[in-house]
């Protein structure tokens, strides 16, 4: 499938890995891909801007969410575990931000994609075929995220769209419009 990726889409996949390294993630899911797309200057970021979503703000909030990872303070509180207290203790023993940073070692290699990230790439391929495009572009990847119903990335994207007073169909129109102009 990767041979059908444009330079832009390849860069997004590589950048998603980079986002995973930076945020101490053990897997790459659709949110890493979405953060990479929003941080870039390709069709995906442009379409987001067209519908009124600030791509860099979206990328920042995704990175913050990914950095916190599964450290779900609310869920831990339901068990009587005070995450702030644990964090303070971890900071004192292992240094500032240790809990979020992880060990900071051994995450240099390839970080595996989650099934939902793979599904997103498949959906992007389907969008590419459906739109009759010769290669998978960043815009198709964003459509893949949008179609990955129930994934954390889709939820984050929908929330960002709703925050900007717009929705998925509007983003799709913006992306398809760009496609038409490009071809």
């Amino acid at each position: 499938m990767f041979e059908r990726f444009s330079k832009d889409a390849r860069a997004a996949v590589v950048d998603a890995q980079q986002v995973a390294h930076e945020t101490g993630s053990r897997t790459v899911d659709g949110r890493h891909l979405l953060a990479a797309l929003a941080s870039g200057d390709g069709a995906a970021a442009q379409a987001l801007r067209t519908v009124g979503v600030d791509p860099s703000a979206l990328a920042d909030s995704l990175r913050a969410e990914l950095r916190a990872g599964g450290l779900d303070a609310g869920a831990l509180a339901s068990l009587g575990v005070d995450l702030d207290a644990v964090r303070a203790r971890a900071d004192a023993v292992f240094g500032e931000g240790a809990l979020e940073r992880g060990t900071g070692r051994g995450r240099r290699g390839h970080i595996p994609f989650t099934p939902d990230a793979k599904k997103t790439l498949e959906l992007a391929l389907r969008e590419t075929v459906r739109l009759g495009s010769p290669a998978i572009e960043g815009g198709h990847l964003l459509l893949g995220v949008l179609r990955a119903t129930g994934s954390p990335a889709e939820a984050a994207l929908r929330a960002a769209l709703a925050g900007a007073g717009t929705d998925g169909p509007a983003l799709r129109v913006a992306l398809e419009e760009q496609q038409r102009r490009a071809s």
Binding site: L71, D72, L79, G80, A90, F94, L99, G102, T103, R105
Partner: protein
Amino acid sequence: MSESLLAAAAEHPAEGLRAVRALRELADRLEALQVERARDLGWSWQEIADALGVTRQAAHKKYGRRI
């Protein structure tokens, strides 16, 4: 922690499972940090494994490459 919140958590599997997952994530992170520190302080894999209640092979397999 209020009693009602605990009772609510007990009633909803989704909440309970989410809490277990969060706890596991927290434990995994603390374990990695502790193992790293123990190695820095010169602990052997055997000593670390004994403290964690796992085999030396299991500890080394999990952290040997990372730390």
